[in-house]
Amino acid sequence: MSSLSYRQTFALVLKRDLTIAFRHKDEMLNPLLFFIIVVTLFPLGIGPQANTLAKIAPGIIWVSALLATLLSLDRLFKADHNDGSLEQMLISPQPLFIFTLAKITAHWLLTGLPLILVAPILAALLYLPEQSYSALFLTLLLGTPVLSFMGAIGAALTVGVKKGGVLLSLIVLPLYIPVLIFATSAIDTASLNLPYNGQLAIIAALFFGSLTLAPFAVGAALKVSTN
């Protein structure tokens, strides 16, 4: 009777999460707005010198992307935990990693993808050199899913904690540092017209590592924190 394929389960959960998000537009736009506001504040604070801004542009964009993701993580499992759907997920005959994979994918589609789409406009604002745009795009494309996947582990661990926000940041931010270092380094290298394949390969490794391992870790963490 229960012959749902993994693909069907994934699609069902993904569709539900996206539907819920689109009915909660303010929450959905929050991380994106935060990202845009933080990045646009920098030229105002530092001054409009093209040299300075171009130099710190990769760092500003990536740090803002990181904080914007962090801002949205808290809600990843919170609502499910509060209304009881998390329990239903845990006792479903479908494997738990499909649920977590679908939820994390939805999270990336709602927070990571919009960041990638607006990043070029913000980069123009910061005078990012032309030759760095492809590096910016590629690092964000490979890097923002890593932020969602690793962040989900922290979110799952703190889902049972009443005010877990601070704890969540402390758990997750150290995990984000490698992505930040290699992504900004790749963009910097690209601005000097040098190959940045090495940094990109490391981010790609982080991406595939977290894609394959994080859903299981998140499942285990959810079980622990609801026990």
Binding site: M1, S2, S3, L4, Q8, T9, L12, V13, R16, T19, I20, R23, H24, A79, N82, D83, G84, S85, E87, Q88, L90, I91, S92, P93, Q94, P95, T226, N227
Partner: protein, 212 residues
């Protein structure tokens, strides 16, 4: 019932919460056709017992088996035959009644197109397209309980299913429990109300509040 091995069997269960022993060395067997009411004052561990039985948390000591197999080792098999409704009904406030039920049915391998008809059974006809945030607590619970009408699961574990449900609704549910039990299933529930069911059908597990 001519079943030799019980449907669900608990052996020497001990549950500890916040350094307090809720119950210890609790053993019981639930056969097909049983309706089991877990009784006890608030804080006696009724919900904890149901969560243990659903496999949502692990006992401090002891084991639970389903058809003679440990529910930890054979979790997937057990969860196919299990329907658990906890304290919170698991209804998404942003989705309509029908969307909620359709998802629940689909994810448990059922036919989601039956959602609309099933809502009629719990008196929610006319509310299908209303987002759940506009519905009452009782209606939320009805959405969750509607799954029972389409369920193939053998073991039903229901935590306070009658909360916020009106008298007619309770009667309809009790009728459903009897049918389910007669079809070879079992129902494990907590409630502070007296069940209007024949005495010989209902078993009781009574938990006492312990201070130490």
């Amino acid at each position: 019932m001519s079943n030799s091995s019980p449907l669900v069997q608990a052996e020497h269960l001990t549950c500890v919460r916040e350094d307090r022993i809720l119950f210890d060395q609790l053993s019981f067997a639930i056969n097909a056709g049983d309706i089991v009411q877990v009784e006890g004052p608030n804080g006696a561990g009724k919900t904890s017992l149901l969560r243990l039985l659903a496999g949502l948390s692990q006992p401090y000591e002891g084991s639970i088996s389903y058809l003679g197999k440990s529910i930890v080792q054979y979790a997937e098999q057990y969860h196919q035959d299990l329907l658990y409704l906890g304290h919170m009904p698991g209804v998404k406030a942003e989705l309509s009644a029908q969307e909620n039920l359709a998802f629940d049915l689909a994810i448990s391998g059922g036919d989601s197109s039956l959602a609309e008809d099933t809502l009629a059974k719990v008196n929610l006809l006319g509310f299908e397209d209303v987002t759940a945030s506009h519905l009452s607590a009782g209606q939320h619970r009805r959405i969750a309980l509607a799954r029972l009408w389409q369920s193939n699961a053998k073991v039903w574990i229901l935590d306070e299913p009658f909360t916020a449900i009106d008298k007619q609704g309770v009667a309809a549910l009790e009728q459903l429990f009897v049918e389910h039990a007669q079809n070879g299933g079992c129902v494990i529930l907590t409630t502070h109300q007296d069940l209007a069911l024949p005495e010989n059908m209902v078993k009781k597990i009574t938990l006492a509040y312990r201070l130490f």
